[in-house]
Amino acid sequence: MKCKGRDYMKVSEIAGILEAELLTGEENLDMEVHCACGADLMSDVMAFVKENVVLLTGLVNPQVVRTAEMMDIKVIVFVRGKKPDEKVIEFAKDKGITIFITKHPMFIACGKLYSSGVTGRGVWD
């Protein structure tokens, strides 16, 4: 992955590209992201083994946060403006997981990140 000569992008930059709103997890804004996983199937997420991953998904239930926890994914972006329940946000907060929402639909959100240089793939692809 190349982001203007670097091989990572900061979480805050990802948020900027996606015009995303932060719901919880300010502490991870300076963290480095190496690749992104766009999925609405939790089993696809569980097949995506990489470090420093941002997850984009259209699902907003607590199992998304649980799946991220299991995969050591620290950043979740809910696409198409879907807002999770307060209890999902609390759950993420407990786990130290950052949550954003973006108005962009999945395809556009992934496209924006990809064309900005977030091109890393999962190991099993």
Binding site: L41, M42, S43, D44, A47, L59, Q63, R66, T67, M70
Partner: protein, 143 residues
């Protein structure tokens, strides 16, 4: 690693009622393995395999129990349930085979990838099942 010859054992109840909370047992085990200093990659393999099996017990079998035994060589996870059992294990192991209801699919599960995922991440997967009685899924991950 901080593991001596002793065996660490933990038991968990996997409740049936609330799918949205499923995964508590796997979450505890993940924390414990991290505290024991198990390498992160190994922790992830155990976490994923156990989580898939835990979710299966909730979705397909009305909950169950999880027993975890850790020694110097391995993590052994046994998930027991008294659900309907699996009529054809070979078929259930196939990628894409699922009997999950729509309510489960709406939450991002039910792709028929859980058992294949467990097999991929575990060093050993053993399934004993009897229709009408229940299922025992045993996962071994070597340390």
């Amino acid at each position: 690693m901080g593991l001596s010859n002793s065996i660490i054992r933990q038991n968990y109840i996997i409740p049936a009622d609330d799918f949205s909370l499923a995964g508590e047992a796997s979450s505890s085990v993940k924390k414990m393995l991290n505290q024991l200093g198990v390498p992160p990659k190994t922790v992830k393999r155990v976490s994923i395999a156990m989580y898939e099996a835990e979710i299966n017990a909730v979705i397909h079998a009305g909950g169950g129990t999880a027993d975890v035994a850790i020694d110097k060589e391995k993590v052994l996870i046994t998930i027991n349930d008294e659900g309907p059992g699996i009529p054809d294990v070979e078929l259930a192991m196939k990628e894409g085979f699922s009997t999950a209801p729509d309510s489960v699919r709406e939450m991002g599960f039910g792709a028929g990838m859980g058992l294949p995922n467990i097999k991929r991440y575990a060093d050993k997967l053993d399934i004993k099942t009897e229709v009408g009685k229940g299922t025992r899924v045993q996962i071994t991950v070597l340390l």
